[in-house]
């Protein structure tokens, strides 16, 4: 379709851009193996000593555990709320249906700093002490849209009539959900959940405001960088965070785009495009 030269130029450009995305991530992994505690290039000696330092650091361990708990709780809440909202919007016509889609998107469309200060001052006014739960509330709020978009895209591709058919055949609502809807929705739910998990796992801006004195992994890195903590240990933790966040996103992508048909890929990109679209319709 395109001329040969144009095609090759485009290919080279694309590969360079994707490399641009990945070189810094590769660099952080390399630095994690830097034996020296001075971060200069080229790295002279490689070792795994800082891995062992980080592994035995109780603060790092606690931060990992907290991040994990927060991400699990936020994902669970986002799954329930996002699925319920997507059913309402996809299967019912009611006054304000567009406002619901818009409402779901606002937390991720507004700059994180606004969400952060808004939640922090509300927690302070309401006298809620900062804890795992305040962090979770912030994360769940902006994770809802991820599940919502994944599930609604799937629901829109399904025939609503299969639900009626199931009911006509005598299944009750629970059975219809269990045997008819859930198998169809499963991969969308898993993908949405994985992406929500990854988003919560890495989130730093809102967390800075809702964590109080609690330390998640991104907060630990942020504090370390701000206060000149051990660069070598930060390298190791950063590398592990990157590798761990790649896993859920990669799985989610395979689940939604790996089915072979082209429209599934579009559905996935839709998660992001929908954010843009909803933002624009809100103006």
């Amino acid at each position: 379709m395109e001329s040969r030269t144009t095609g090759s130029l485009l290919r080279i450009w694309s590969i360079l851009v994707v490399l641009f995305l990945y070189v810094p991530l590769a660099v952080i992994v390399l630095y994690a193996f830097n034996r020296s505690n001075v971060q200069t290039w080229p790295i002279e000696h490689f070792s795994t000593r800082w891995f062992s330092v980080a592994w035995h650091d109780q603060e790092v361990r606690d931060a990992f555990v907290l991040s994990f708990k927060v991400a699990c709780a936020a994902t669970a809440v986002a799954l329930v709320l996002g699925t319920a909202a997507s059913f309402a919007v996809a299967r019912y016509r009611f006054f304000g249906v567009n406002s619901v889609s818009f409402l779901v998107v606002i937390p991720i469309a507004l700059p994180g700093v606004i969400t952060g200060i808004a939640l922090q001052s509300s927690f302070a006014v309401a006298g809620i002490p900062f804890s795992l739960w305040t962090i979770m509330i912030g994360h769940a709020t902006f994770c809802i849209v991820i599940v919502f978009n994944n599930v609604i895209a799937r629901l829109r591709r399904m025939q609503p009539s299969i639900e009626d058919a199931s009911m006509d055949l005598g299944a009750n609502g629970l059975q219809t959900f269990r045997y008819v809807l859930f198998p169809e929705l499963r991969s969308a739910l898993v993908a949405g959940g994985l992406l929500a998990f990854a988003l919560s796992w890495d989130e730093v801006i809102v967390t800075i405001f809702t964590a109080g004195g609690n330390t998640t992994i991104p907060i630990w890195i942020w504090t370390g960088l701000r206060t000149g903590g051990s660069g070598s240990e930060i390298n190791v933790v950063a590398a592990v965070v990157v590798v761990l966040s790649i896993v859920p996103v990669y799985c989610a992508q395979r689940l939604t785009t790996g089915t072979g048909d082209g429209r599934a890929a579009a559905e996935d990109v839709g998660t992001l495009a929908a954010v843009g679209g909803a933002q624009s319709s809100g103006a």
Partner: protein, 296 residues
Amino acid sequence: MTKAESPLTRLSAFFFRHRGLKLVLLLAVPLAWLIGVYLASLGSLLVQSFWRADELSPNPVHVWNLDNYREFLTGDSVYRSIVARTIGFAAITTLVDIVLAFPLAYYLTRVARPRTRRLMLVLITVPLFSSLIVRLYSVRLILDDGGILHSLLATFGLNVQIGFTELAMAIAFAYVWLPFMILPVYAALERVPGSLIEASRDLGAKGSTTFRTVVLPLAFPGVVAGSIFTFSLTLGDFITPAIVGGDNHQLIGSVVYSNFGIANNAPFAAAFATVPLVIMAVYLLAARRLGAFDHL
């Protein structure tokens, strides 16, 4: 109607007849959460912006006034230059990302094989969900004195400082927001029917003419959608200036962050936080005026 056999069946039948009730149940908790927790917080933030900070206590004095807005609109000019700098960074980031993203998105839709396309889409999406702070830190490691880029340039006899400069911030912004530009542009290009391009060619248009008159106008909404991300993300960011820019290049987000926390002036932070909101509202209205959303 089905014969009610078990309570569950009866319940299902009940909900089938009362669809409205089922809708209320589906919407109750999500709406309670988003309105009760989130919108209420935003509302109270707006209210706070009209109060006055109390130097002696963490709680603002509840005196209604416009001083916080006056402070940055007509007061110290440093706030206006920070707004201008932030918009400048947002604009440069957007342009750089469009240049980087467009050929890639075009390649994915019109040249790449389906397998390659899927793989590259996954590769582009992964950084979107990887830690912002880690990605910024790695940019800093590369750009700092003694980092890879600095050392590489030094071997060519170029001894330039990049770390903690405005250039470093621009590179960092372009880097972290790039996937947010690629994906909407890709989504828009994917919706351009191949038949339109063939038709243009059949009618005798050169490749460049087809690109300018067919592809570009149809891809424009995607570019605008991407620019909404890059703009909005830059306008609220305080992490990038803090990690990559040092303390000399404050942006809107940095001012909000430091006033809210360290300076203990939450009302001013709340007022200043409306600046990115107003800028984005104007931006979106302008984009709509340009007809950018007609095709979305």
